[in-house]
């Protein structure tokens, strides 16, 4: 097959010729010039020559000249005449090459009447004198080095320098002095506040003591009001007794006295009774006051106790609440720590041991049909017979073109076997 490239190229060229020639009439019927058809041919041939299908054909013909210089017999180098150079148009894209006969070298002056023959056998007669010279070698491109300029941005000089140091100390001094002044003021204020307040007269006395003071002056007047010489059957009640004696009966005192004296006695007795009653009354008042004072004292003490107890209770409650809060905080921190630990473990497990998605192994991967038939190696042909026996297939093909590796191969018959 590899040796079939040259026949393939010839086959292709023959097909091109057949197509072009068969379309010439139609093109003329369409009113198109032959130039259009020639352009089509040139483009078609150039594309084929550029493809790998004609690569071998191109390589095999690379050394062959397009023009064979056939000089007439009377050609003599000494009879060369200077003529204008002629540039052969290169319409087909093929670089025309000349093969010189032996004994000739460039430049060659071709006088009129010389016949040129192409490799395909076409003959060209030179009617105008031609000078054939060898093209100069192409000069290599000059490379230019680009100059790279680096700009270094110099740092700006410190135009705006730091404020001078002289300005700082005063500011600092001011700053220092200001708090000093404020400190002094605060000290003065504190001193003023620390000075003990002027003593205030104590107007508030404990309730128990207050009642005792006026009680004292009352007692002596009660004792002083007792008339001298008056004898009572009842002993004098000492101050402070809680049980006042009943007032004596004045009848027992003046049984044998005269009416005046009785009146006097009565008066005296009444006076004495009054005084006694007064004394008794004062004694009672004192007792009552004392009792009241004592009661008030007790109440105050009780109040104090209750207040103290409430204060203590509040303190206890506060302590309990603080303890509860601390416990709650601890519990919250513990919970957060646990959650963090759990999250960290989850992240580590997912990263260290990546898990496939669930049910990923259940999917059955199927081949993509478009990709299955997508290939550059194609055989285009006709089949005579296709046979199958179980999983063994036999192919009988004909008139095919194989495109493999960019190259084309042809066959008239192809027989193949394959197992499915």
């Amino acid at each position: 097959m590899l040796t079939n490239t040259a026949p393939v190229a010839k086959l292709y060229l023959s097909i091109i010729d057949d197509v072009i020639e068969s379309m010439r009439e139609l093109f003329t019927d369409e009113g198109l010039e032959d130039r259009v058809l020639d352009d089509l041919r040139q483009i078609w041939e150039s594309k084929m020559m550029q493809s790998k299908a004609m690569e071998d054909y191109r390589k095999s013909n690379i050394n062959s000249s397009n023009f064979v210089l056939q000089l007439p017999a009377n050609y003599n180098r000494t009879n060369q005449e200077l003529t204008a150079s002629v540039v052969i148009p290169n319409n087909s894209g093929i670089l025309p090459t000349f093969s010189l006969p032996a004994g000739l070298s460039y430049p060659v002056q071709i006088p009129a009447g010389v016949t040129l023959q192409t490799a395909s056998g076409q003959l060209y007669k030179v009617n105008v004198p031609v000078v054939v010279t060898q093209a100069p070698a192409g000069q290599p491109p000059v490379s230019r080095l680009a100059q790279v300029i680096e700009r270094r941005e110099s740092p700006d000089p410190p135009s705006t320098a730091a404020p001078p140091d002289a300005s700082r100390p005063p500011q600092e001094a001011e700053a220092l002095s200001a708090p000093a002044i404020s400190d002094k003021q605060q000290q003065q204020q504190q001193q003023q506040q620390q000075q003990p307040p002027p003593p205030h007269p104590k107007t508030n006395f404990p309730p128990g003591e207050e009642s005792a003071l006026p009680q004292q002056p009352l007692v002596p007047p009660a004792e002083a009001s007792q008339p001298p010489g008056a004898h009572f059957p009842q002993p004098e009640a000492p101050p402070g007794e809680s049980e006042p004696n009943p007032p004596p009966e004045p009848a027992t005192l003046c049984a044998s006295a005269s009416p005046c004296s009785q009146l006097l006695d009565f008066q005296i007795s009444t006076e004495e009774a009054l005084t006694q009653t007064g004394q008794l009354r004062t004694n009672d008042l004192d007792d009552i006051l004392k009792e009241v004072i004592e009661e008030e004292r007790g109440k105050a003490v009780m109040a104090r106790k209750t207040v103290n107890q409430s204060d203590a209770d509040l303190g206890v409650i506060k302590k309990l609440i603080s303890l509860l809060l601390e416990v709650c905080v601890c519990v919250c921190t513990l919970i957060s720590l646990v959650l963090q630990h759990v999250l960290i473990t989850l992240v580590l497990t997912t990263h260290l041991y990546p898990q496939d998605p669930l049910n990923s192994g259940d999917d059955v991967v199927e081949q993509d049909i478009p990709d299955l038939f997508d290939t550059d190696n194609v055989i285009v042909c006709q089949y005579d017979k296709i046979h199958r026996s179980k999983n063994r297939w036999k192919f009988h093909l004909k008139d095919g073109v194989i495109c493999y590796g960019g190259r084309d191969y042809v066959f008239s018959k192809a027989v193949g076997e394959a197992e499915w």
């Binding site: 097959m1 097909i15 197509v19 042909c381 006709q382 194989i402 960019g406 042809v410 066959f411 394959a418």
Partner: protein
């Protein structure tokens, strides 16, 4: 009308590209380009039938087969082509084959 399946060869593709260029430059009409392609189909069918006389054998494993509109399409793997003494191994090749015995010359579009 001959089979159009040979348009997918190097020769056929280059012809289509050339015709497209001429159509773009408005040198020819699309209808005329179609006529050129039809003429190409005839020419290549005749050339392959009359100018080629060689035989090729091949062996491989059949991956896929398809039969539609009287057109077989095969995909073979690890194929060995043998012509006389030459041996060429191909990893993957696709075969598109039209009915060679059918005298009908309906237009057969490319099946790839």
């Amino acid at each position: 009308m001959a089979y159009q399946l040979y348009r997918n060869t190097t020769l056929g593709n280059s012809l289509q590209e050339s015709l497209d260029e001429l159509i773009q430059t408005q040198q020819i009409t699309p209808q005329l380009a179609l006529q050129v392609l039809l003429q190409f189909d005839k020419a290549i069918n005749m050339a392959l039938a009359n100018r080629v006389r060689n035989r090729v054998n091949f062996r491989g494993s059949l991956n896929t087969y398809r039969f539609c509109d009287n057109v077989w399409t095969f995909v073979l793997n690890d194929v060995e082509f043998r012509e006389v003494t030459d041996l060429v191994k191909v990893d993957k090749v696709k075969i598109v084959a039209c009915d060679g015995k059918s005298e009908s010359t309906q237009n057969k579009n490319d099946k790839w």
